[in-house]
Symmetry: C2
């Protein structure tokens, strides 16, 4: 169980230890968490969200935990909590639909016909893009396809797509099916990068040297910004630079990066990117996805599949079947946008605008370092002997510049029982099969207190599982 | 201004005239509308919807009409009215999101992970399909593309797509861009069918003979079920039969047909179809779209673009990048479904199930015949001389089997001022450029009283426009 190797993370720990000393508390004390929370300038943003109560979760065991308490929600990397304003905005638009019906398309504060455009400037600033480099449309997998159709133009010599071996399944299927669409063979055209033997994450230098070595044959590099399983944050600027040096197109799936880490897509020169909004962007299951096409590609890269929503707004309703394609990513839009999905995203984006990504990231680095420190001090230190049984290992990089908020713990033995014990105690996180426990303290609504409670619950869960295992209790 | 030529429509008029006589009222009297409404078994369904009030519409003129009255809503072909239950269902799922957060995917009455599947049986029955022939996903234009990618396989000899010259713009762009994707030339591969010289709608025999004549070179026939501009209902059974005889694939865009006319996609043997849900299906702007792939194509036609939602549910979450593609249309799904969009559609589909398409269609035929009759009796008869100025013409077929609920009036002169006058008086319908006024009495919520009021308002509007025109008032 190895922690805290890099310089930067050692600094973070130093900082936390100094703070504890200043306040005259132990770093593992609950009171330290309270001090950190009361010094957190973003603390009040939690009030903007609905946090589930223990008693409402069917899996929690009210013999073990007070039902009136809020859950320790560490699953914002999977589904973000609900901003309270979502309901308000939805009700406003329901009211408008009730009162104006079809006139809602052009009337009111959110004319439905360009509601997506109204919220795209705040979306753009979260990914570090210009407003017209961003579109809100469809689901993430749909956007991956639409973008690859335009950006993946294999030739005899250059026909590969570079991706991680452990890419998210949808990305994997997207890439394989795109390759097959060109009558090419996925086994030879999918260039899978894998960690070194015995390692779990990709080394930056290995990624860059693969690009340099194989770049001639690579048409598109498509990596995630933050890896969904390991929580590793890739160095998108260097990857983009290296890819471009070799003449490759570079794109990113930002599902786990958007709203989690700071992004500068425009500045980095990324060619295209897309993301979903139901994780860190808190838009609700099946929320509208985003897409980015760099300004420099605005006139050179055109959508392959076209619909009326890619047509210039002036021309769109003349019904003359004349196409004046909007340059750039907005020309990729096919169908009219959804009122409801724009409402829920707007409610969340407003909070991001107010909190700002730099401030969120600053808190996030500290919050996750605190989680790491407590895991080490409380779990690793106090229960070393018993824990050997579980063969626990943290697979997320310890270096804050190589990760977002999520820490992933590999639990080779009894991982499902651990999750069950956590859930019985009112903690919410998840396991990605076969055995990766993902824990994501989200700076927008998670507190240092949450982290402290979580680590205690994790320890209790570990011990309960080990005890049951020893006593052969299922 | 020509009406009522066909046998069937003459029967309908006969029926109405007999009813009026039985009740001892004039067919043009408002009291006749009241009688018809009180004999309408579907009358109470209007209560399930929010009908806009005149005072809430910014364009209405409270000097001309009582603000407390409900609008005459004849625009359900563009955007359906809101079922009152939409808000209830949305609030239930917001509550679930607030209380259960990520557990909502598998818990509760509508587990989000298969919420779309929960409502597809009622969707399937509206289009006359088996449940596993239908998927709810994306927007309509997106689905058109996904289906064409799988069904349009041009060869040297057979590479054309047959469509209407006046196809909806998005369909037109979809088809043109699909053809270009195959490096073919849209001008030669788009086989546009046009009405005869001087006619506005396509004759069945012309369509069928074109298919017979050109069928050898046609890869896909893609027509609308009901034409958005003219309101013409195509004979989908015969077209499918004729297309299959010539070896063509046959698909339909049902945007204006679904929830409007009875459909038997399975029985007709249609290969594929898709539709939006915000018109007659009342799911709100940007609602989730539908797609149909016939059972017989289940194993022979595979999606070209693949995502994790097309993967078998057992395999989907194992994160092993192993694909076990769901056979048929559900294998075309790419992204996880939206909670909100499923809620709004569910609220509406339940009403359809209760009312039933056969009953709705029965009322619809009578309601639209009544509209046609009143247009003839009130407008054409009473104001013939003045109306010559407008060169009015109904372009929708008079035969009920060749139309849904919509009637389209061509108003070559002063059409925009006519729409404005209608709106000032609390009527809602639309003009599709340049000059087609579309009027759609929807059997689910429109009454015979609405139709009567509408025709009176239309007459008043015509006269007001003519008067202003004569007096040079803008
Ligand atoms: C016939 C037809 N096809 C396609 C569309 C495009 O729909 P969407 O924006 O939902 O893709 C419409 C929209 O009104 C339509 O009427
Ligand atoms: C990295 C990544 N890519 C793609 C997807 C697929 O998303 P969607 O269902 O929104 O298309 C997800 C969903 O969790 C994801 O995490």
């Amino acid at each position: 169980f190895c922690f805290l190797t890099s310089k930067f993370s050692a600094d973070m720990v130093e900082q936390l230890l100094t703070l504890a000393q200043d306040w005259g508390v132990q770093v593992t004390d609950e009171s330290f968490a309270r001090h950190l929370d009361s010094n957190d300038p973003l603390h009040s943003f939690r009030q903007r969200f609905h946090v589930p109560l223990v008693k409402d979760i069917p899996k929690s065991d009210l013999g073990l935990v007070n039902g009136e308490e809020q859950c320790v929600y560490m699953a914002g990397n999977s589904l973000g909590l609900q901003p309270k304003k979502v309901k308000v905005y939805l009700e406003e638009e329901l009211d408008k639909w009730a009162k104006l019906a079809v006139h809602g398309h052009f009337d009111g504060a959110r004319p439905w016909v360009y509601f997506d455009e109204i919220i795209s400037s705040s979306m753009a600033s979260i990914v570090g893009a210009k407003e017209n480099e961003v579109a809100l449309m469809n689901g993430l997998t749909v956007n991956l396809h639409l973008l690859l159709l335009a950006f993946y133009k294999p030739t005899a010599k250059r026909n590969k797509i570079l991706l991680e071996e452990k890419a998210f399944p949808s990305d994997y299927f997207v890439i394989a099916s795109q390759i097959e669409m060109h009558n090419l063979d996925p086994t030879s055209c999918m260039l899978l990068v894998t960690p070194r033997e015995g390692e779990q994450t990709l080394r930056r230098e290995d990624l860059l040297s693969t690009i340099e070595r194989e770049g001639d044959t690579i048409a598109v590099i498509l990596l995630s910004g933050v890896q969904y399983l390991t929580g590793q944050l890739f160095d998108m600027a260097s990857i983009t630079h290296a890819g471009h040096n070799m003449g490759c197109v570079v794109g990113f799936d930002l599902a786990h990066a958007v709203g989690n880490v700071e992004l500068s897509l425009h500045e980095w020169g990324v060619d295209f990117a897309c993301w979903c909004s139901y994780k860190y962007l808190n838009s609700g299951a099946g929320g509208v996805a985003g897409a980015f096409v760099h300004e420099k590609c605005m006139h050179s890269v055109k959508p392959v599949l076209i619909g009326w929503w890619g047509n210039d707004r002036e021309n769109r309703f003349t019904m003359e079947n004349k196409l004046k394609l909007i340059p750039g990513v907005r020309g990729f839009r096919l169908s009219n946008p959804s009122i409801f999905l724009s409402c829920s995203l707007q409610a969340s984006l407003e909070i991001f605008t107010e909190a700002s990504m730099p401030a969120l990231r600053k808190k996030s680095v500290q919050l996750t370092a605190y989680l790491e420190l407590l895991l080490q001090r409380i779990i690793n230190a106090e229960s070393k002997e018993q824990l050997k049984r579980l063969k626990l290992k943290m697979i997320t990089p310890t270096d804050p510049v190589q990760r977002g908020c999520q820490l992933s713990l590999q639990i080779p033995m009894l991982s499902q029982p651990v999750l069950q014990e956590l859930e019985r105690r009112g903690a919410m996180c998840d396991i990605r099969e076969p055995n990766i426990l993902r824990v994501a303290p989200v700076p927008l609504y998670n507190t240092f207190g949450d982290v402290h409670r979580f680590v205690k619950l994790l320890k209790d869960s570990f011990l309960a599982v080990i005890l049951k295992d020893q006593n052969n209790i299922p």
